[in-house]
Structures are given as C-alpha cells and as structure tokens.
C-alpha cells in the first residue's frame, strides 16, 4: 500500500498546481489520478470522496482532503514550511493570500474568449507590477534576507516563485523593475527540490491549452461562458 499522497484533478494546472509545487518543494513524492471523463467524476461523487462535490481532492494521511487552501495549509505545517511561530505564520498567510489573489487572475485565463484574453493579460501585468510585486520587492529589500519570512524557506517563497513564473509566461520581462525579485527567483529556483521540479519530466504541468479547457468543460459540464473578474 502506497503512503504517497494521491492527487485527483485534471491533467493540468488549475487549482492543483500550487499543491504540486508545495509537495515538490517539500521533497514529497506523490501520485496523480487524472480526470478525463464525466464518468470518473461521477464515480468520485457517488463514492462520497468529494466533500463539497469539487476537486482538487488529495488523499493524504488517511484523509480525503478538499479545498485548496486547507490542503496547502496541512502540507505546509506537516513539512515545516509554515514558519516557527504564530507571528511568522501570520506573515506567511498574508503573503500567500497576496500571491493567491494574483494567480486568481490567471486561473480562468484559458477559459476566456480571445478578446477577453487580451484585456485580462493587460490586467494581470498591471496588477502584478503595481500592486503585488512591489510589496514582495519591499519585503526582501527591508530585511535583506534570502527568504520572505523568518530567514527560512517557507510556503510563501514557493508560492511567490510560482506566481512570478506564471506572470512571466504572460510577459517575459515583467521583473525588469524588480531587482530583489530577480535575485529571489534565481535563488529559490536553484534549491535542489525546486530545481528538479523545474526540469522536464517532473510533475509540473505546462501552460493550459485548449485540450485542457475542453477536458475541464466536459468533466464538470461547465459549458457556460467564463467572464473575467
């Protein structure tokens, strides 16, 4: 019997990607079951595996966990990526909340119409460069340490790196005004577990394409038009 965590989701990024990143950063091997058909999804539903009828779902330590944030918090705490005390935890929660908001703008991007995609790309870049990146740039500048919180590698660092790379996929030079973040990106990317995750052949998922969108729509019967937020 495998004791590796098992991830249930589509074969693509979506809301599961942050969980893949965190497990990888913690050096934890995991298995994946990809939802391809509506039948698979209905089987999971009928089996009572999905508490609120939704994925992501992760089988871990005898639990069938749902809700992305709950899963991430559990993994972070278990693998010592959640700070050393309540105050560090609060900082990590704040920083992760910010990068979560930023990645939220990118989450539904693949589902938008071509016209809305253009507008959304501009919005993502604007939010990243005027609201979010400046905050993390300042944090790193103020304490001059390698990691965002407590001079120790944490969930906040992993999440920020993930967000940076996702925004760079929309505009490759988006970090040009942010020297601290550029150095941060290089530094965190070369941590062995992360470096491995960034190499081809890892369980990191590629930029979502039409096939991914089709799969999600089919499995969830999600045929309505998705509007940008």
């Amino acid at each position: 019997m495998s004791t590796k965590p098992k991830l249930y989701y589509f074969d693509g990024r979506g809301k599961m990607e942050s969980i893949r990143w965190l497990l990888a950063a913690a050096g934890v091997e995991f298995e994946e079951e990809f939802l391809e058909t509506r039948d698979q999804y209905e089987k999971l539903l009928q089996g009572g595996s999905l508490l609120f009828q939704q994925v992501p779902m992760v089988e871990i330590d005898g639990m069938k966990m749902v809700q992305t944030r709950a899963i991430l918090s559990y993994i972070a705490a278990k693998y010592n990526l959640y700070g050393k005390d309540l105050k560090e935890r609060a900082l990590i929660d704040m920083y992760v909340g910010g990068t979560d908001d930023l990645m939220g703008f990118i989450l539904m991007f693949p589902f938008l119409s071509a016209e809305d995609k253009e507008k959304q790309r501009a919005l993502i870049i604007q939010k990243a460069t005027s609201r979010y990146f400046p905050v993390y740039e300042q944090v790193l500048k103020d304490h001059g340490q390698d990691f965002l919180v407590g001079n120790n590698f944490s969930w906040a660092d992993v999440h920020l790196l993930e967000a940076i790379l996702m925004v760079e996929e929309k505009k490759s030079d988006v970090l040009s005004g942010f020297p601290q973040l550029q150095a941060f990106k290089a530094r965190i990317s070369s941590i062995p577990a992360i470096k491995k995750f960034l190499e081809p052949g890892s369980q990191r998922k590629p930029v979502p394409d039409d096939k991914y969108v089709e799969t999600v729509r089919r499995v969830l019967c999600m045929y309505y038009d998705v509007k940008a937020n």
């Binding site: 609120f52 929660d93 704040m94 909340g97």
Partner: protein, 213 residues
C-alpha cells in the same frame, strides 16, 4: 494606548464580518475604524485590515487564522485543523455567494438567488448535517467550539435572512443553531447593540460600491 484589536473596514458586513464573529465568540473586545470614502481606502491600501499585537494584518484568512489560533478556536492538532480548514473554506465559498447578492442589480438578483440557495441547501448544508449526524456531538470538530462552528452559525443566519425556512430539511442544523446561539459570548453578539453589522440596505449599496470601485 488600547490593547484591543482595531478593525479597519467600512461600516458593514462584507469580508470583515467573519472576523467580528470570531473575536466576539472568543470574548475579545475590539474597536473599529470605518472607511467613509475612497481616499480612506487608498491610504490603507487593503482591507479588511486588523491592527493586533503590534501587527497590521491584511488578508481575511491570515487575520482569521491568527485570531482562531490565538484564542484556541482552531482544534487541538493538525488533523483537527485540517477538518476545520476544509469546513471553513467551504463556508467561505458560500459566504461569497451570499455576500454578493445584496450588491447585484435587480435584474441579476433572481438567478443568483436561485443558485446560491441551491448551493446552500444541496451542497453545503447536507455536508454539515451529515457531520453532526455521524458523530452525534455538539460541535463540528473535536467535541469543542471552534471557528468552524462560529462560521457555520454565521452562514446559517445569513441564509435565513434570504430564505427563512432554509433549514427546513436539516433538523440537526436547527438544533446546532439553537445550541451555538446560546453560548454566552455569542448570545451577547446576537443581541441589539453589539458590533454585529446588519444586512446591507439597498440604499447604501451605491455608497459602498463607490468606496471599493
């Protein structure tokens, strides 16, 4: 200098209300500064914001997590915390739907109402009814009061404001509601004169939209 937490938000429920509930349930007195206009918001950068223990915390979850941990409303170990987080995140999703309703234009309200009550009664309430049925205890997790109980009560009351008989099919949630409402600090919070905020009135909506957008 007051040692009490100070909440920065507009004078209404929105995303700050779960924080007010949590502090009230913990028996913690708090002060509030209300945003009146857009300029107040840009000064603060982001709300909800809570000044507590020398920090200026933003991000609703960060604030709620901190308060829940500090005041022992977050379970006794990682597994209880995991359950609480799952329940709370689900309730957070339902809260977003309920919260949005008051701000929608008249022509969008009916469809949204149907969707949100469908989710409440077919996706969320059945889960909590079953949790209570399965373990037969008074509280959702670990046989003691946690933020999950507080949040569930808050959501039940909000749903009832929209549809008074929403709990008709959920006897255990009905007794849960009565039980949790009777806990002294919560009972106090439910009385007139507390810092609990009322449902937003239609005439206030334009003002709030102006502050945030």
């Amino acid at each position: 200098m007051s040692g009490k937490p100070r909440l920065h938000y507009f004078n209404g429920r929105g995303r700050m209300e779960p924080i007010r509930w949590l502090l009230a349930a913990a028996g913690v007195e708090f002060e509030e500064s209300y945003l009146e206009k857009k300029e107040d918001l840009t000064k603060l950068q982001k709300v909800p914001m809570v000044e507590i223990d020398g920090m200026k915390l933003v991000q609703t979850r960060a604030i709620a997590n901190y308060i829940a941990t500090k005041y022992n409303l977050y379970g006794k170990d990682m597994k209880e915390r995991a359950l609480i987080d799952m329940y709370v995140e689900g309730l957070f999703d339902l809260n977003e739907l309920l919260m949005k309703y008051g701000y929608l234009p008249a022509d969008k309200k009916e469809e949204h109402f149907a969707n949100m009550m469908d989710k409440a009664e077919n996706r969320y309430f059945p889960v909590f009814e079953k949790v209570l049925k399965d373990h037969g205890k008074d509280f959702l997790v670990g046989n003691q009061l946690s933020r999950a109980d507080v949040q569930l009560l808050e959501i039940i009351l909000m749903a009832e404001e929209c549809k008074p008989d929403t709990l008709a099919k959920f006897p255990l949630l009905q007794s849960f509601k009565a039980r949790i409402s009777n806990i002294p600090p919560i009972k106090k919070f439910l009385q007139p004169g507390s810092q609990r905020k009322p449902l937003i009135r239609e005439e206030e909506v334009p003002k709030v939209i102006k502050i945030f957008y």
